[in-house]
């Protein structure tokens, strides 16, 4: 139970197209994360699934049943809102009981469900308090508890951690992951934070401007982004994008030249000699090499962020590109130093003029 399918779902607000035909299949028990920059339509998509808004066209199917015209209350879903949306005038217990009372469950059932959820979330001592008397993290738990007691077929979470401070966010993230493992229920989770997406998701849906850019597991997204947007969005710091050209193509192998003298050979699926391409290198894949290495990228250090375990180096190539390199350990570098940055050819990502990935990757 808990399979959610979207077939060509579109949403229009007045003249503005917000979602341009979304096809998605969320499997039972999956934790799918919608991620994308603000305004990409991820929250809108979640509201369509919840039933709070109706799609302009397309179908939403839950467990094989078309629920496109079904009310939010009757879809068997529970939602956790960004602002938690706890009823301020009700105690925690009443907040959790409200939905169950509306379903006309027997009192004993309501009490036992709330007790169980409260124990699971460790909010039993808070049950008689009002939301205003709780801290941010406690409110978050209550909001999740209110969703759990409904025993929904799937959970919808709309940026649930964005109102918490950084430290609490990390611990709540871990708790959410544990909760998902324990309940085994389908969850759809919206966030703009790619770290949250990477750590929580079974699969990530990357959205941009109302379109799905790529759907895959976190590591697959990281290793084989299908286009330049996904490559730039997933991974921190952002992937270096260096303009270059294909200088020679023989079979699958292409010879690339980029930023000055840097050269590489990459297996590609498309592209011809002379094509302009973007070469992507993750900062983590950069390393310091001997300055005499002609194939390396030569640059001048503009900023060094020493984080202890690693050092983030900002450098400028002579042609103007800014490069980021994450070096493990503590590099003895200073602003103004000339450095050479090397990489392994198989770590390169190559994007054609339409920003599609053309490097053939294992």
């Amino acid at each position: 139970m808990g399979r959610i399918q979207l077939n060509d779902v579109k949403k229009r607000f007045g003249q503005v197209d917000v979602l341009h035909g979304i096809d998605l299949d969320v499997g039972e028990g999956e934790l799918v994360v919608f991620v994308g920059p603000s305004g990409c339509g991820k929250s809108t998509l979640l509201r369509l699934i919840s039933g709070l808004d109706r799609p302009s066209s397309g179908d939403i199917v839950i467990d094989g049943k078309d629920v496109t015209r079904v009310n939010a209350a009757d879809r068997g879903l529970a939602m956790v809102f960004q602002s938690y949306a706890l009823y301020p005038h009700m105690s925690v217990w009443q907040n959790m009981a409200f939905g169950l009372q509306n379903e006309h469950l027997p009192k004993s059932e309501i009490a036992s469900r709330i007790d169980e959820a409260a124990r699971m979330l460790e909010i039993t001592p808070l049950l008689q308090r009002r939301p205003g008397q709780l801290s941010g993290g406690q409110r978050q738990r209550v909001a999740i508890g209110r969703a759990i007691v409904r025993e929904p077929t799937a959970f919808l979470l709309d940026e649930p951690l964005s109102n918490l401070d950084a430290e609490l966010r990390v611990s709540m993230r871990a708790e959410l992951a544990a909760l998902h493992a324990r309940l085994g229920k389908t969850m759809i989770y919206v966030t703009h934070d790619q770290v949250e997406a990477m750590t929580l998701a079974s699969r990530i849906v990357v959205l941009r401007a109302g379109r799905i850019e790529q759907v895959d597991t976190p590591l697959a997204l990281y290793n084989t982004p299908q286009n330049r947007f996904v490559a730039g969005f997933i991974g921190a710091p952002t992937m270096n994008m260096l303009p270059g050209t294909i200088t020679a193509r023989a079979g699958d192998a292409a010879h690339l030249s980029f930023v000055g003298n840097a050269e590489a050979s990459v297996a590609v699926t498309a592209g011809a000699s002379g094509d302009a391409v973007m070469v992507g290198v993750r900062p983590q894949h950069m390393r310091l090499v001997d300055p005499s290495d002609a194939h390396a990228v030569h640059a001048t250090v503009s900023l060094v962020e020493a984080l202890g375990a690693e050092t983030v180096v900002h450098a400028n190539a002579p042609s103007g590109e800014t490069l980021l390199a994450v070096l493990s350990g503590q590099a003895a570098l200073q602003r103004g130093d000339a450095i050479a940055l090397g990489f392994d050819d198989q770590d390169l990502h190559v994007f054609d003029g339409n920003d599609r990935a053309i490097a053939a990757r294992a």
Binding site: F81, Q82, S83, N95, F98, P131, G132
Partner: protein, 350 residues
């Protein structure tokens, strides 16, 4: 006392008086006198006799003439403070007055008559309360019935006002529909139409519905207030829509959303509107006067009007009964005002 002094010499900080301190005290003091002075005068004057009310200059406190029973006189005699020729002041009772001369006696030695020029004497007065101002109307007027009518009208009208206005405000703040702003504008526009303009058509409506000479005829036309709708709508706009969405996910019907989520959260605004409504309905005069012509249906305000005859206004009764009619409004205000400031504990949203 020392706390009062400490309070009245408070400054905004620093060890010297700043001109803003002086200005603030002056401003607030003037405000206190302007706002509270009439109320004090009203209460004070409600205990004055008709004669004293006509006096100029007026006094804040009620006084009564002191009288004394003297043997040999049927009626009590009025006491005066008389300045004697030698400059001493004596308290004498007046027997009679002839022209500018008064015949007075010392109550201790009633046999000797003293003649005094009336310029040399002054009525001896003490603070005293003419409680008959209150007692008499209660006997003459069917006060309890008027009170009941007023309470009934006020309570029913207030409840219906809160109920209908909050429903209208809910629809106008939480649902998006074509013409929503237009509806709101029309409602607000009715603020610009004074009662006197719609009095006649309103009366003909009430009359057609056979509501004249019923209390419902007083209540129903007043319950839809644009002020109330506006006030509640503005407050409801501040309630986040996510709360309503959460309730929808919780299988709440639209009615339950209104009744169990929005209404409790609007409590502070409802309290404000309740105060307004109670004051409005309690003080209503013109409309009840028109609708009600049978005396047993009179509200207090209309009942009070019977003290104003064509030729003679019994101010002492009117003032006393005004104080009585003010009491419930003051109580409501004191009670609900605390409720407003307390507000509603906490907000579940950031």
């Amino acid at each position: 006392m020392s706390r009062a002094v400490a309070f009245l010499t408070r400054r905004r900080g620093g060890d010297r008086w700043h001109w803003t301190d002086v200005f603030t005290f002056f401003w607030l003091g003037a405000g206190l006198i302007i706002m509270f002075g009439p109320a004090v005068w009203l209460v004070g004057s409600s205990f004055k006799t008709p004669g004293q009310l006509a006096e100029f200059p007026p006094t804040i406190l009620p006084y009564v003439e002191q009288v004394v029973e003297v043997e040999g006189f049927d009626k009590p005699l009025v006491l005066y403070d008389v300045t004697m020729e030698d400059g001493s002041v004596q308290r004498l009772a007046q027997v009679r007055r002839i022209g500018t001369t008064a015949q007075m006696i010392d109550p201790a030695a009633p046999d000797e008559v003293i003649r005094v020029n009336i310029r040399n004497r002054e009525v001896a007065r003490e603070i005293g309360f003419a409680t008959e101002n209150y007692a008499e109307p209660f006997q003459r007027l069917d006060f309890v019935r008027y009170l009941w009518n007023s309470v009934f009208v006020t309570v029913m009208a207030t409840f219906i006002t809160l109920f209908t206005n909050s429903m209208a405000a809910f629809a106008l703040s939480k649902y998006k529909f074509r013409g929503r702003s237009a509806v709101m504008l029309v409602i607000l526009a009715t603020l610009m139409v004074p009662l006197s303009v719609i009095l006649v058509p309103l009366y003909s409506v009430v009359s057609t519905l056979n509501l004249t000479n019923t209390l419902w005829g007083v209540i129903l036309p007043t319950v839809a207030t644009p002020t109330g709708v506006f006030l509640l709508r503005q407050y409801m706009l501040t309630i986040p829509d996510e709360l309503l969405d959460a309730a929808r996910m919780d299988k709440a019907s639209e009615w339950q959303i209104y009744w169990r989520i929005v209404l409790p959260l609007t409590a502070p605004a409802l309290a404000v509107l309740a105060i307004f409504s109670v004051v409005w309905r309690w003080n209503d005069f013109l409309w009840p006067l028109i609708v009600l012509s049978r005396q047993e249906l009179y509200t207090l305000q209309v009942g009070l009007y019977s003290f104003s005859g064509e030729l003679n206004v019994q101010w002492h009764f009117i003032l006393a009964m005004t104080v009585v009619t003010m009491i419930p409004v003051v109580i409501v205000f004191v009670f609900l005002q605390r409720f407003i400031t307390t507000g509603i504990a906490g907000a579940g949203l950031k």
